[in-house]
Amino acid sequence: MTLEFFLGHVNYWLFIVLMMTGFYIVVSRGNYVKKIVGLNIFQVAVFMLYISIGKVTGGTAPIFPTNSQGKIKIDPEIVYSNPLPHVLILTAIVVGIATTSLGLALIIRIREEYDTIEEDDILEIEAAMAQAENDEHGSAMGGRA
């Protein structure tokens, strides 16, 4: 592996480190707010990956300069980065906040119903509820429920 290859790809690997940190929070932490934060970190790391694909070395932001009369003048010397990933990620950020707010609303509802936002506690409550239901209806089903 040459140094050139390393420098040309190390940014992708750094995004993957961030992505996996977010993923780790989602799978290993039981608190729902923390899970949402982890999901956001994962999502932002994906955004960075997309934006870095659109970057051109020596490029600048894709906005054309205007002169004093407000006329756009095109200078073929200027290199611009790819504007298409920017547009896609703008849409993704707004959709991301929509899904985040829906998730947070669900957390508030879960807290109202179970009085906790820890996954472990909720699993325990669910198991106790299933057990109680079994005890109540089990004999009527001939002990098969």
Binding site: H9, Y12, L18, F23, V37, V94, L104, I117
Partner: protein, 185 residues
């Protein structure tokens, strides 16, 4: 060269913030750090020439989502229970997924390569023709509002649906609370 140094510093701060979020048990600190994370991301977007995205990320990621999360922890709880589960399985899963993703990047074009497939297909058309076709100096604006206008319409529909969903989930929250208090008293 300066850009590389700035990127490395920003990345160190991003990774530190993310690791701190993993370890924190107070949710207020977690939410604030996620706002910090979004602001650092916005800075990184500026160095990657995506000024419009940086602007949106700073406003939406660091602003609105932090406020929403603060509202949520005010309505639920302020701290998390320390995790009792073993960390071995999640770590293994994360390492495996990361390794597969790294394997996938080996074929990717070099960072900043002007001849990468992403740069040669649609972008030249937008950069060369949008002035005559749309006449807006900001190419991102002309793509967002004109070339891909239906995309933006779909995005608006998603936000509308999410807003309706939040309203439906939370409707009657105060009414149910008051009924509960009446029952207790």
């Amino acid at each position: 060269m300066t850009e590389t140094i700035i990127n490395v510093i920003l990345f160190t701060m991003l990774v530190t913030t993310a690791f701190a979020i993993v370890r924190m048990t107070r949710l207020f600190a977690v939410v604030m750090l996620s706002g910090v994370f979004s602001l650092l991301t916005a800075m990184l977007f500026v160095t990657l020439d995506a000024v419009d995205v940086a602007f949106t990320e700073a406003a939406v990621g660091a602003g609105i989502s932090t406020v929403l999360m603060l509202g949520t922890i005010a309505l639920t709880s302020r701290s998390t229970k320390p995790s009792t589960r073993s960390n071995a399985l999640p770590l293994l899963l994360v390492t495996l997924t990361g390794a597969v993703l790294v394997y996938g990047t080996l074929d990717m074009p070099t960072f900043g390569d002007p001849n990468a497939p992403a740069q040669t297909h649609l972008a030249p058309h937008y950069l060369n023709e949008s002035i005559t076709e749309i006449d807006v100096p900001n190419v991102v604006t002309s793509i967002l509002a004109s070339y891909r206008g239906f995309d933006t319409l779909g995005e608006t529909a998603v936000v509308f649906a999410a807003g309706i969903g939040v309203l439906l989930i939370l409707s009657g929250l105060r009414r149910r609370r008051e009924e509960e208090e009446e029952d207790e008293s």
